[in-house]
């Protein structure tokens, strides 16, 4: 029987240092193609250290590689910053729900990301761009704490150069060489031009940020069932057996992490649920 607790070894092919505390790892899956939907995550196991949930941040249509963008914050993720090509990670997955690439067809799509939250949204952006004609306006709003904490800088730069995509990048705290906007993503959202009652908003970032983003989007007239957010909870198994990620009736690893807002609005308001 296939054991859902046991990770499959996969070899790191490429390591890109995004920021001081974040790397993007590309794993080689050419031997056994890895299929996933944008928004899904894996359990990533570092030998001898432990296992953590990490979203997939690469192209969903490139099954020969698996991309993760990892911020080193604790005992398991921090040593992952030091991996080099040829090292091996254990992977279980993919798990969880996906961004509404189908539901969003034909609408304006507003992508709002904060910090590491851009990582799980990147496969969505790739999808939108690869299927550009299926969607109306596309707006990406990305907020980072400081300019040097920004992910995928080259890619953002490249996207910004495209005419079929609006990119707004903002930072909480500017620096001398930062000429872009300073402020929270909600402000950029409020300024963004899109057709509110025919838009899809997808967001990922800290819970407070998402709370304000949704609030603003709703204020602007986006229907609650057109807003999607990705949740984070403690996870030890990602297969609905360990119980840690429970959030009301849900296992975030199964019914989440991507949720349609009208399904969770009432829960999101409860403290310590």
């Amino acid at each position: 029987m296939n054991d859902p607790w046991v990770p499959t070894p996969m070899t790191v092919r490429e390591v890109v240092r995004e920021t001081a505390d974040t790397v993007t790892l590309t794993l080689d899956t050419s031997a056994s193609p890895f299929a996933f939907a944008p928004g899904q995550f894996n359990m990533v196991y570092l030998f001898g250290q432990g296992e953590v949930p990490i979203s997939i941040s690469g192209h969903a249509d490139r099954p020969d590689e698996l991309v993760h963008t990892i911020r080193g914050v604790g005992p398991v993720t921090r040593p992952m910053l030091d991996l080099v090509p040829g090292d091996v990670l254990g992977i279980r997955g993919p798990f969880g729900t996906a961004w509404p690439v189908e539901e969003a067809r034909g609408t304006d799509v507003i992508v709002v990301a904060g910090g590491i939250g851009l990582a799980p949204l990147r496969p969505m952006i790739y999808h939108l761009l690869a299927n550009r004609r299926d969607y109306a306006r596309i707006v990406l709003i990305y907020g980072a704490r400081q300019p040097d904490q920004m992910l995928f800088v080259d890619e953002l730069h490249h996207w910004r150069g495209r005419f079929d995509l609006t990119v707004e990048v903002t930072v909480d705290q500017g620096t001398e060489d930062w000429f872009g906007p300073v402020g929270v993503v909600t402000r950029s959202l409020a300024r963004a031009r899109f057709d509110a009652d025919d838009a899809t908003v997808v967001t990922c970032g800290p819970e407070v940020m998402m709370r304000f983003v949704v609030h603003e989007a709703v204020r602007m007239g986006v229907p609650q069932d057109r807003i999607w957010a990705s949740m984070e909870r403690n996870m030890k198994c990602a297969i609905g057996l360990c119980g840690h990620c429970q959030w009301g009736p849900d296992f975030v690893c199964k019914q989440g992490p991507v949720y349609r807002w009208d399904h969770i609005a009432h829960r999101f308001a409860e403290k310590e649920l």
């Binding site: 001898g48 250290q49 432990g50 604790g74 005992p75 398991v76 040593p79």
Partner: protein, 256 residues
């Protein structure tokens, strides 16, 4: 990895736990460079150290300086045992008149540097990991060493003794025997030792962060323990830990 073992006011039991790892000792000594461990070796090499295990509490001015030096020389500081993590049983002095304890005549008063308090290491320096217990559990101690060696986070679960009892299959001594037990508010680590030996936990691993002392006191009262008994139970090896001190203060205030 260079390891150092330092001693402050204590009974030596926690560092002895290292020598009590009979099955693993030689392997540990092979894998780790034991640079400073006076109880076990005459070879006492100066720092820096990768990991310093610190036993004992701070009770003298000289020791208060020495611990600063140890912090400077050590990448990782792990406090081991109730003395180092909570001040130990000698912290009973914090609640008494040291004069009364030391009513002796000293030949050289300038050397009498006993402080009025016994304080945990973390009150003086930042500590990376704390290993509870009076004494520490040697499996946990070994795990800290092995984890440091492999750069892993040590497995020191933050639970109550009850969780360990239940997993071990021990029968609850409160419910089945009416024996007062501090297990529900005591940090895990011992494996539920005392209840496994039919006695109530007396809290040698100290209060857990999930400790809710008031209802625990109510349980003890319902089992016939008077407030003096409860006060004594809260004032042994972890007398100086916050949760115990707060509950004792509450009981005392209730009395008045």
């Amino acid at each position: 990895m260079r390891l150092a073992v330092h001693k402050f006011a204590s009974c030596d039991g926690c560092q002895l736990s290292i020598l009590d790892c009979e099955d693993e000792l030689l392997a540990v000594a092979g894998a780790v460079d034991i640079a400073y461990f006076p109880e076990a070796s005459r070879r006492m090499e100066p720092g820096p150290y990768d990991v310093s295990l610190v036993e004992g509490s701070i009770t003298t001015a000289h020791d208060a300086e020495r611990i600063q030096q140890i912090r400077r020389e050590s990448k990782v500081v792990v406090t081991i045992g109730a003395c180092a993590t909570a001040g130990g049983i000698q912290a009973l002095r914090n609640y008494a008149d040291v004069e009364q304890f030391t009513r002796a005549v000293y030949a050289k008063p300038e050397f009498i540097s006993t402080l009025e308090t016994s304080t945990p290491i973390a009150a003086h320096i930042p500590v990376d990991y704390e290993l509870r217990g009076c004494p520490v559990d040697k499996r946990q101690l070994l795990d800290v060493l092995v984890a440091s060696l492999h750069g892993r986070r040590p497995a020191i679960p933050n639970e109550s003794v009850c969780a360990e009892c239940k997993r071990a299959g021990h029968v609850c001594v409160i419910v089945a025997h009416g024996t007062p037990c501090l297990g529900p508010v005591t940090h895990s680590g011992c494996g539920g030792l005392c209840p496994g030996y039919h006695r109530g936990c007396f809290g040698c691993f100290g209060p857990s962060s999930l400790a809710r002392m008031e209802p625990m006191t109510e349980v003890w009262r319902s089992l016939g323990a008077d407030d003096k008994t409860i006060d004594r139970a809260l004032s042994t090896f972890h007398v100086a830990s916050e949760a115990n001190a707060a509950e004792r203060a509450r009981l005392e205030a209730d009395d008045e």
